[in-house]
Each structure stands twice: as structure tokens, then as C-alpha cells.
């Protein structure tokens, strides 16, 4: 195989941080090359430079032997470099073909384009109807749109940023088949991920970044996942320890919860039945957009339901507002840190006040006790190792992982009876993620009922006692996590309702 892209000494500095420091590596034609690293290691900056979105401060790139310095993504695409982003840029209200046309220079006629979309999608086993509306597609299908958009340009190098974070295990297999086909045809793939097992199965070669520098290279098939993780983190990892628990009384009881989404592209919750006992961690898996946000809103009280549909300690809370639920010990941490769980431009003290007011008694007669709020914020910062100069810094100024530790810590320290978290470790580095998982498990051990909604199946298998899957607004019957294989979970995610096919109308009381 001959060399396709050569990166030599790329450096990019932002005020206060060197995102990439003298990064060099090579990708051969047809090679699947992994770029490994924690959040903030500099992977995104590096691929943005390759894709022409960011201009390097110094360093050279050559593509197929010729100097390569794309000034903008258009130039990168013209040179045969394409990229599938982690966050899709698709318009929900337009069709597949219309979306693809929007991203193209010299788009062909609609009919001709639809024909080509069909051709490419069949050739690479990515079935897709050009006339469907994006809003109706699953996340996996949306990703196909982005991939096909790239493949229509016959790229020499395809960059994929965390492509599997939104897919079911079965969809991942389909994607990998497509990538193998591409690689056999000579297309090089630069694959960004922190999921080590899939890198082991897919990639020929890996470059590992830490703090903007290349800290190692390896052939993933010859390494253990643990070894690669330690190279990524630069320290030995501790895995959260799970103790054998004896769950107590039923604390959270969700009975036939059905709710229409307020958002036209949202998911309607259909007859959700589940109970969580004291001392238990319930994991809720499933691909994003299958009702996770709606379920969290229904539990937090941001959307009200008929009162008996949600019960805490036998008390009907379905029609209570968020603060009334907090009073009863039902606390939540939504997925979106900035703008939902925390107000971006407010200080950490103000953000501590945001949910802490009720249980921490941070106000009296409506007058705010700012000193008490500051004390609470400082307690969170200290106990959850939040790295910030002070409690008076804005939420926005914190890194994703630090803010997530603050958001989770804020709820955990309020001594909840029930804690529901959505995506607790999304975009959080491995060390912080381990701390957060440990804190959630400790909380359950202390007698709280904990619900973790996550798309990270490895995480759910690690921390949850029982696991259920949310699929198109329906929740499967929870099963003991230990009894489930990855294949079982995959089938549940694909719409099969767990063990036995006839339990769409499960008995609510089943535990």
C-alpha cells in the first residue's frame, strides 16, 4: 500500500492551550487508521485541520505526494477528503435527496441524483430511500445520509468522527461492513473513537493522542483494550466496583406512562411501566431519539402527566412541578449540560441555586441566601473534584467533563430518594466518567433508587443491576443485566421486546 496522507509536525495553539503540538503520522491508501484519545486530547482540532476548517499554525501535510493545505472544506472535498461529523447537519423538514443537494457543488438534476443515491446506497449496503423526510428517519439512517453524501464525491480519504456513538450494535456491524468494502476499494478511513473494542475489530493502525501530542502508535489487534486505554489516559485506570446489593422497597413506580411529545419531531412515550427499588440501579439503554429526553422530562416534572402515572414512595407525583418533586426527593440531571442542566452564563454559585434551592434551603421567604449557595457550590466543587478557579466562574467556562461532574454532584449531594440521570458521562473523559459512575453506584448503595439513561451500553452493563431498552417510546421489560448478552441487548434495541415476544403489555408490578 502506498502512502496517501502524510502529516508532518502540525501545531495549532489557541489562547491558553496548545490543541496540537507537533503531530505527525501517515495514512496509507485503503488503510483504516484510528485516532484515539480522550476528550480534549486534540482529535477534533487535528481532523478539522485536515478537513480545512482550521488552519494550522505550523507544519506540513501532503496528500498523494503533493502539498496539501486546504483553505476551506470545499478545497478539501475537491482534493478527495470527506468527513462525517458526529453531529449531523441535516434539515428535518427536507427529504434525503434535498439535503444531499444542499451540500453539493454543481448538484445534478434531482432525478439523476436520486438514481445515484440509490446506486451508492445499494453498492455499499446502506439502504436509503432518497424521497423520505429526514425527520422520519432514525439516527442510524440519518448517519447513512451523511455517509452517502460523502461517498457521492468518491473520496480518497473518509474521516469519521465517533460514528458509532449513536448506533445499535447491529447497525454498527452494518457500518463496519461498509467501511471494510470501502477500504478494500482503496479508500483510506480516518476513524475517531474512544471505543477500544471496535477499534480492535476495525482498524489496521492507531495513533494515540494525549494533551495534543502523539503519545503512541500501535496495531490495535495486537493490544489489549486496557493497554490502549492506559496509553490514552496516561495512568492506570480504576474500574468502578460493584457491590452485591439487596434491593429494598419499591421507590419509583412508573405506571402506564403515555405522553405525546410537544416537539413535532419528538417521540411519544407509549405505556411505560417500570419500578425501581431502593439500592438499585436501573439502566435504560437505546439509541438517541427514542424517547430518552421525553422520559427524563416526564420524570423531572418539566412535562406533567396524569398524576398516578408516576409515583415516588407511593405518592402520586405525575402532575407535580419540578420543585414539588424535588421536595419529595425525586431529582434529575438532564443530558444537555449547557442550557438545560445549567445556565451557561451564570456562575457555579447561581447554578447551585438553580436546583439546590429547595432541598438545601438556599432561600427563606423568597430571599436568596447567596452565602449558603456559595457554600453548597464549593462543597460540590470539592467533593466531586470539579476543576475551576472558583465558584464564581461561569458554567460555560468549564470543560464538558468538569461541568458534568458539577451537575451530577449537585444532585447527588442533595441526598435524593430517586435520581434520574440522562447520559451521565457523554463527552466526559475516562477518568471523570469512572468517578461519576462510582458516585452513582455509591448513591444507590446508600439506599437511593438510581435510573441511568445512556446510549453507552458498556457503561450500562458496568453499573446497572437491571437493564431495559427504550425503543420508539416503548420500554422493554427490565432484565437482570448479568443475564443479558450483547446480542440480546442488540435485539431489544432493534425493537424486539426482550424475552418473549408478547410482553408489549407487561404487568406493571413485575420486578
Amino acid at each position: 500500500m502506498s502512502e496517501l496522507l502524510k502529516i508532518d509536525g502540525l501545531t495549532k495553539a489557541y489562547p491558553g492551550v496548545v490543541a496540537n503540538d507537533d503531530v505527525s503520522f501517515e495514512i496509507a491508501e485503503g488503510e483504516v487508521h484510528a485516532l484515539l484519545g480522550e476528550n480534549g486530547a486534540g482529535k477534533s482540532t487535528l481532523v478539522k485541520m485536515i478537513y480545512g476548517l482550521v488552519k494550522p499554525d505550523s507544519g506540513q501535510m501532503t496528500l498523494g505526494g503533493a502539498p496539501y493545505h486546504p483553505a476551506e472544506p470545499k478545497a478539501a472535498r475537491a482534493s478527495g477528503v470527506a468527513m462525517v461529523f458526529q453531529h449531523f447537519s441535516l434539515f428535518d423538514a427536507l427529504t434525503v435527496a434535498e439535503n444531499i443537494t444542499l451540500g453539493m457543488e454543481n448538484a445534478p438534476h434531482r432525478r439523476e441524483l436520486s438514481e445515484r443515491i440509490r446506486e451508492v446506497s445499494n453498492a455499499y449496503k446502506l439502504p436509503l430511500d432518497p424521497n423520505r423526510i429526514i425527520g422520519d428517519l432514525s439516527v442510524g439512517e440519518r448517519q447513512r445520509v451523511e455517509i452517502i453524501r460523502c461517498l457521492l464525491q468518491n473520496p480518497k480519504l473518509l474521516i469519521m468522527d465517533e460514528p458509532t456513538s449513536v448506533l445499535t450494535p447491529q447497525e454498527v456491524e452494518v457500518l463496519f461492513e461498509t467501511l471494510h468494502t470501502l477500504s478494500d476499494e482503496g479508500t483510506a478511513i480516518l476513524y475517531i473513537s474512544h471505543k477500544l473494542e471496535e477499534i480492535k475489530t476495525l482498524c489496521d493502525h492507531a495513533t494515540i493522542l494525549r494533551h495534543g501530542q502523539v503519545v503512541g502508535e500501535c496495531v490495535p489487534k495486537e493490544q489489549t483494550a486496557r493497554k490502549m486505554a492506559e496509553m490514552m489516559v496516561g495512568a492506570s485506570l480504576h474500574t468502578p466496583v460493584k457491590k452485591n446489593l439487596h434491593p429494598g422497597e419499591v421507590i419509583l413506580n412508573v405506571q402506564g406512562l403515555s405522553l405525546a411529545s410537544k416537539n413535532p419531531f419528538g417521540t411519544t412515550l407509549k405505556d411505560i411501566n417500570v419500578t425501581v427499588r431502593a439500592g438499585e440501579v436501573l439502566g435504560i439503554g437505546g439509541v438517541a431519539g427514542n424517547g430518552q429526553d421525553e422520559l427524563l422530562l416526564a420524570l423531572s416534572g418539566e412535562t406533567a402527566s396524569p398524576r398516578q402515572m408516576v409515583q415516588v414512595n407511593g405518592v402520586d407525583v405525575g402532575d407535580l412541578n419540578p420543585n414539588e418533586r424535588r421536595e419529595l426527593g425525586l431529582l434529575t440531571a438532564p443530558e444537555e449540560r449547557l442550557g438545560h442542566a445549567a445556565a451557561p452564563d451564570m456562575t457555579l454559585t447561581e447554578n447551585a441555586m438553580l436546583t439546590g434551592n429547595i432541598r438545601q434551603r438556599l432561600s427563606s421567604n423568597g430571599f436568596l441566601r447567596w452565602n449558603a449557595a456559595r457554600g453548597f457550590a464549593k462543597a460540590i466543587i470539592e467533593q466531586f473534584d470539579v476543576r475551576t478557579p472558583s465558584s464564581e466562574n461561569t458554567a460555560r467556562s468549564l470543560s464538558g467533563g468538569n461541568l458534568q461532574k458539577f451537575v451530577i454532584g449537585r444532585e447527588v449531594l442533595q441526598d435524593p430518594t430517586v435520581l434520574v440521570v440522562n447520559q451521565p458521562t457523554w463527552g466526559v473523559d475516562a477518568a471523570a466518567a469512572a468517578d461519576i459512575r462510582q458516585a452513582l453506584m455509591d448513591l444507590a448503595e446508600g439506599g437511593a433508587a438510581v435510573v441511568i439513561i445512556s446510549q453507552d451500553l458498556d457503561e450500562l452493563r458496568e453499573v446497572s443491576d437491571r437493564l431495559a431498552i427504550l425503543n420508539e417510546g416503548q420500554l422493554t421489560k427490565p432484565a437482570e443485566t448479568a443475564d443479558l448478552s450483547m446480542d440480546d441487548i442488540g435485539l431489544m434495541m432493534g425493537g424486539h421486546m426482550g424475552d418473549g415476544s408478547d410482553n408489549t403489555t407487561q404487568e406493571a408490578a413485575h420486578v
Binding site: 499554525d57 418539566e302 424535588r326 434529575t332
Partner: protein, 364 residues
């Protein structure tokens, strides 16, 4: 070429100095405007900013300062609380008029009774009138999702029509020999709102403005309602998560700003204006928008900004007597808001040269 780059945190320095830069830039641009009108720019600027305070007739103008600043501050405080929540009440002028009309109507209904409780009742009526007028956009927004900017603005023109009708009909002075306009409220002891200390311009409306400065500081900094208002403006979804009901914030902030504007109107009609007349609306409700932003939506900033804008009103009168058109002063006030918003950009963004080298970038 230049390009803008978002700052990680808003710059405290720029937030502080942008009002001052805006005033200076307005003086420069205003100077060009006056020069284009054939006036000496330096003399014109001096006439607006210096003469009212330190010129030949300063002793007369100084009293005017508080009289003009009082309603501006009172209205701007109410607006600023709504603006913090992202609720844009642009119709304070209408609420000011309706407050004055309601309060005046209550007083005139009891004419010529001599009783201590008439003025307090009129004050209450003024606040209620402004509140009710502001509740129209609030209810329409909460029930039907209308845009409060458009509705409140349109209601200004409705209020002006009602004002004209009242001045020509319902509230017309029966002893006024057919001239439009109500009885003079300032000349009737039960409803008069005179200077508390003669010649200072310090009437009850100015006292109310000072109390409102303290009150809104406490509300916004120390009280849960203020926190919820701030939160709604910063991040509506986080506010819902914190248990805030958006409809209540809309009703509270619009209602409060309407009530304060109504109060300002009542104090004006019983004091400096003296009567309901067709041209009672003086633009305070619109100028107060500039005051609110120039004061950084901060109560003490609004106090200072109110005094500054009052100065341009008085200075404008001086300049008008010297032959500058009244419209030039309005353009001048508009420029102030324009420059303020322009400089405000720099508190959230920094300007960079697009094609500079690494070392240059580090120096910005």
C-alpha cells in the same frame, strides 16, 4: 480583513466602558451631524451637555434635570426587568399614557372635593392603568403565542387615540371654553404633585424612581423572583428545569413594567404636565428603552443613564432655541443606542485580523 471571534467569557472591561465609549462616539458623530446642518459642532455639543448644568441659565435647567430623569428612570427600571427575562416591552409609552388617563380620570371624578386620599387613589389608578394595558400583550402572548414586541408597540398608537379622544371628550375641562384638554390637576390641591422642595424638580415621581432603584436592585439580586427572571432570560430550558413557569414570568415582568410606566404617567400628568392633553405623550416610554440599555439593565446604571438622557432632553431644548431642529436631538438619542449596541458586541467578541501570523494573534 477583520473577523470576530467569540470570547470564552464576556469581557468585564468592555461591559464597563462601552457606555462611556458610546457617549463619546455619539458626541463625535453628533458633531458631524450638527456641522452638516451648518452649526458649529463644538458649540452645539456644549449647548447640549454643558450649558444646562453650568451655563448662564443653569439654575433654571438644573431643576428640570430631575423632573425629566424621574419618569425615564421609573419606566426604564420596569423595562430592564422584562429585558432581563427576554420579554421585550416596547410599548411603555402606551402604558405611560393609560396610567396617566386612569389616574387622572379617578381624580377628575371627585373634583372639586378636598380630601387627602385623592392623590394616593390616583397613584393607585395610574399603576393599575399601566398594568392593565401591559397585560394585554402578556395575555395574548401566553394564550396565543403572539409577539409582545409588536402587540405592545401597536397598543401605543391605540393609547394615543384614546388619549386624544379623552382630551377632546370625556375628560375635557367643562370650564375650558371649548379648548381640548382636561382641568389642570397641578392647580388643584387634592391632586397636585408639586416639587417637594421648590425649584429642585424633586416631585413624588422622582422619589418613587429612587425607591424603585433600590427595590429593583433587591428584587433582582436578592429575591427568588429576580433569580427566576434572570434565569429565564439566560436559558429558558434551564429555567423550566428549575421549576419556573414561563407564562408567570411573562405576566409578572410585563405587568410590573406597565405599572411603573403607568405611575410615571400619573406623576407627570399631576405635576409637570398638569393636564391631560392631546400631546401628553412625550416619548419618555421610548427613550426609556435607551436608558435601560445604556444603564446595562442595572438599577444604578439606569439611574445614571436616566440623568444623562434627561440632560440631552434639556440640552435639546436649549439647542432648539438656538435654531437646531428638534429631530436632530431625536437622531442624537438614537445614535446613542446605536453606538451602545455596536460597542456591546466587543464584550462578547474580539476583533482579529483574519490573515495575521501566529505572533500577532497572541498580541490581541
Amino acid at each position: 480583513m477583520f473577523r470576530l471571534e467569540a470570547r470564552p467569557q464576556p469581557s468585564k472591561l468592555w461591559i464597563g466602558i462601552s457606555p462611556i465609549l458610546a457617549v463619546l462616539a455619539t458626541m463625535v458623530a453628533g458633531g458631524f451631524l450638527f456641522a452638516a446642518l451648518g452649526k458649529d459642532p463644538f458649540i452645539s455639543i456644549r449647548m447640549i451637555f454643558w450649558d444646562p448644568l453650568f451655563g448662564e441659565f443653569a439654575s433654571y435647567y438644573r431643576g428640570q434635570l430631575l423632573t425629566k430623569a424621574g419618569p425615564l428612570i421609573l419606566i426604564a427600571l420596569g423595562l430592564s426587568i422584562g429585558f432581563r427575562a427576554g420579554i421585550w416591552n416596547i410599548g411603555a409609552e402606551g402604558q405611560y399614557i393609560m396610567g396617566a388617563l386612569c389616574g387622572a380620570a379617578i381624580g377628575l371624578a371627585m373634583y372639586p372635593l378636598d380630601a387627602w386620599y385623592i392623590f394616593p387613589l390616583m397613584v393607585l389608578g395610574g399603576a393599575l392603568g399601566g398594568w392593565a394595558w401591559a397585560m394585554i400583550p402578556a395575555i395574548l402572548r401566553n394564550r396565543f403565542g403572539t409577539n409582545e414586541i409588536l402587540v405592545s408597540l401597536m397598543l401605543v398608537y391605540v393609547a394615543e387615540k384614546i388619549l386624544a379622544a379623552a382630551a377632546l371628550g370625556l375628560l375635557k375641562n367643562p370650564e375650558g371654553r371649548g379648548f381640548p384638554g382636561s382641568r389642570n390637576l397641578a392647580n388643584w390641591a387634592s391632586s397636585a404633585n408639586p416639587d417637594l422642595i421648590a425649584g429642585t424638580g424633586m416631585h413624588w415621581g422622582v422619589v418613587a424612581a429612587f425607591i424603585a432603584v433600590i427595590g429593583s436592585y433587591v428584587l433582582m439580586q436578592r429575591h427568588l423572583i429576580g433569580f427566576q427572571i434572570n434565569l429565564t432570560g439566560q436559558s429558558p430550558r434551564a429555567a423550566m428545569f428549575a421549576g419556573v413557569v414561563p407564562a408567570k414570568v411573562v405576566a409578572f415582568t410585563l405587568g410590573l413594567s406597565g405599572a411603573l410606566a403607568g405611575l410615571a404617567g400619573l406623576f407627570e400628568v399631576t405635576g409637570p404636565a398638569g393636564q391631560i392633553s392631546i400631546d401628553f405623550g412625550s416619548g419618555y416610554g421610548f427613550t426609556a428603552i435607551i436608558v435601560a440599555f445604556l444603564g446595562r439593565l442595572n438599577p444604578f446604571g439606569i439611574l445614571l443613564a436616566g440623568l444623562l438622557l434627561a440632560l440631552t432632553y434639556i440640552g435639546g431644548n436649549v439647542a432648539e432655541q438656538e435654531g437646531l431642529p428638534a429631530a436632530a436631538i431625536q437622531a442624537f438619542q438614537g445614535m446613542l443606542l446605536f453606538f451602545l449596541l455596536a460597542f456591546d458586541l466587543l464584550s462578547n467578541f474580539r476583533i482579529r485580523l483574519a490573515h495575521s501570523s501566529v505572533s500577532k494573534k497572541e498580541a490581541v
